[in-house]
Amino acid sequence: MVINIRGLEKKYKPLFQLYLPQLQIPSGQIFGLVGNNGAGKSTLLKLVLDLIRADKGCIYSGNKRVDKSEVWKTYTGSYLDNHSLIEFLTPEEFFIFIGSLYNLSNRNVFLRLGMFRDFFNNEILNQNKYIRDLSQGNRQKTGIAAALMINPRVLVLDEPFNMLDPRSQLILLNLLKKYNYDFGATILISSHNLNHMTSLCHRIAILEKGSIVSDEMTSKEQIQEYEQYFTN
């Protein structure tokens, strides 16, 4: 599913302005966003998910504008932060709830959750705990699994590696690679972890104060360039 951004502007008082005149993410591409804190990564992802309104310009998911049509919701999975979770449900109840929104039977939900067995590390399911009682990392795992479980054609993840332990980070990295390979999904991902981003993404853009200052296909040498850029 192609994502097209045209003439996008979003201002926040008094100084911040996100400005993206043209950006296209082809179908099946893993597109990474890196940048310092406050560069506008989360704002861009929220705009893609129609959670904030753009001042100018528009975003197309497929051939539909995300702020005019809600069709994109049927094929988009996302996890931004804890606001994507319903914290007073147990993880099982949450997965069943999400599954029912995508017409998945309970059996199918748990079948699909099978692929996250290693990722969950026996800490999510059958714990008799509400999501709010899970640790930050396990909450994040629940949100990411709920986003992936529905087999979305577009996946939006905001800093998915942040709260995870090193083992879970590697498992997630492989999961995302495999998912992209198997389903050809378009993935938008933001992170501060340059190693993971260069290993995972086909293309990486650097956001700086609301504008893209670099947008290149990934290569092994790039990690040194990025490190140099952020050091300077």
Binding site: L49, E70, K73, T74, H83, I86, K129
Partner: protein
């Protein structure tokens, strides 16, 4: 002493800096207004009833006053045990060089110098001087005053102790005691043969304040012991909470066809804030049932009631069937706010959410009216008017409340210990709560006085039926409004200024 001052100052900062200063000043205003309004209503109604009761029963006013004070103290204990007070977050202090005993003292002090206790003093002083000085003399009046204030502080400590032990079981016990005493009262409406023991003790026994102080110290020591044992980082709250496993097993047994209804049930039962509003609703409905019983049996004025339909009675009718939607419904989108972003990125239409909510409201109105109906049939007062207001609540009020809920734009923590946690509770919710009760009763009375009862019935019924028939159209307007304000709501729910 400096530690105490700092902790209380931090508590004030927590209130004043929570979202924005102005909003919190409004919240504090609403809180103070609510407490003063409710307490003065109880006191004034009580003292207004004393001469009325005397004219009906020819009983000694001292005995009536004695019963009244007894009722006030019992209801105060129940209200304080049900209602929760904000306690300053103690977690940041646990790793500092502050003893747990000091923190427990802070919590107890905050409890004793609370707004209800202060308003108690404000209300009881003029009453003591007005009623007791002319009859019993200044010394007795002062004695009464000291006793009442000590009892108020004792009640606040006792209610804290009740909550520290077990929130639900003891509250249930208190409600049962009240119901039993009310039933007894209803069977024998005015049994004033006893002496005014309570008043007698408070007016003439010099050792009463000493005994009350001993009680207070014992209560404080018990509470301090329990508080010290609860002050650990891993305790999410000072008060015992639901056992998760029980709740999860219970919910697993409920197999709801609609996932949204299941979500709503979980929302109500598993979060402190909606749960305490639900408890408040149950309490209010019990209260209105008692008020109805008072109207008919206690005052023995059924004949008058059948002719006059007082305004208060109409308001009671509205609350009895619409209690749930008024107290829960006004906060419907506020309760959705912690996961509103998540819902908005899923393939779930706003219309589904609103229709679902509308059907929940009308079912609650019907269920509550069915519960109230047997009592009304026994009392035999204005059944038709009650049914008319049930129809009105289904047709108009449920839609009005759904519309008003779209004005929920503040950030709120669902599981924060609450009632009187006024996050997301502004002027609109405060006035809307009263408006949806008072305005229909006022319009009904106005129309009845000008056009007569049959026309009033016809107009109300027609409007209500129109509301039911056109509910889809009205709901679509409400949904359009919500869709238009979606971005603003998301931003404000996240605590951002817009």
């Amino acid at each position: 002493m400096n530690i105490y001052k700092s902790i209380f100052y931090h508590h004030w900062l927590m209130i004043s800096r929570n979202v924005s200063r102005n909003k919190n000043l409004l919240n504090i205003f609403v809180k103070v207004m609510n407490i003063i309004f409710i307490e003065s209503l109880i006191f004034l109604c009580g003292f207004y009833f004393i001469p009325v009761l005397q004219s009906v029963t020819n009983a000694d006013p001292a005995i009536i006053l004695n019963q009244f004070i007894y009722m006030i103290l019992l209801s105060d204990l129940i209200i304080r045990s049900i209602v929760k007070h904000k306690i300053p977050s103690f977690l940041p202090y646990l790793t500092l060089n502050i003893r747990k005993k000091t923190l427990a003292h802070c919590i107890l002090l905050k409890r004793m110098i609370s707004i209800p206790n202060l308003s108690y003093c404000i209300l009881i002083v003029p009453i003591a001087f007005q009623f007791f000085v002319p009859v019993y003399g200044l010394l007795s009046a002062l004695h009464f005053l000291i006793c009442m204030i000590l009892i108020a502080v004792n009640i606040s400590i006792l209610s804290l102790y009740i909550k520290l032990l077990s929130e639900w079981l003891i509250q249930l016990f208190l409600i049962l005691i009240t119901l039993i005493s009310l039933i007894q009262w209803l069977i024998h409406p005015i049994k004033f043969s006893a002496k005014p023991i309570l008043l007698d003790i408070m007016l003439s026994r010099p050792f009463t304040p000493v005994i009350l102080t001993i009680y207070l110290i014992t209560g404080i020591l018990l509470c301090r012991y329990h508080l010290k044992n609860r002050l650990y980082v891993d305790s999410t709250n000072l008060f015992p909470v639901y056992k998760n496993k029980l709740n999860i097993k219970f919910m697993n047994k409920i197999k709801s066809k609609s996932v949204l209804q299941y979500l709503n049930v979980c929302l109500l039962l598993r979060n402190r804030r909606p749960r305490s509003l639900l408890k408040g609703t149950i309490f209010l409905i019990l209260f209105t049932i008692c008020a109805l019983a008072l109207f008919t049996l206690f005052l023995n004025r059924r004949q008058d009631l059948n002719e006059s339909e007082p305004w208060v009675l109409l308001m009671i009718f509205i609350i009895q069937s619409a209690g749930f939607i008024i107290f829960e419904g006004l906060f419907f989108l506020l309760f959705y706010n912690p996961f509103f972003e998540g819902l908005m990125t899923r393939p779930i239409q706003l219309s589904t959410i609103f229709h679902n909510q509308y059907y929940l409201y009308i079912s609650s109105v019907i269920i509550l009216s069915l519960i109230s109906l047997p009592l009304l049939l026994i009392l035999n007062i204005h059944i038709l008017t009650f049914l008319l207001f049930v129809l009105y609540n289904v047709g108009i009020n449920s839609l009005v409340i759904l519309f008003l809920s779209t004005f929920n734009i503040a950030k709120a923590n669902l599981n924060k210990s609450i009632a009187f946690n006024y996050e997301g509770y502004g002027f609109l919710q405060y006035f809307a709560m009263w408006a949806v009760i008072i305005i229909p009763a006022g319009i009904y009375t106005g129309l009845k006085n000008t056009l007569g009862k049959p026309w009033t019935f016809t107009i109300f019924a027609l409007f209500s039926i129109a509301g039911i028939v056109f509910h889809r159209n009205i709901l679509s307007l409400i949904i359009k409004r919500t869709a238009k304000h979606k971005y603003r709501m998301i931003a404000l729910f996240n605590g951002n200024e817009v």
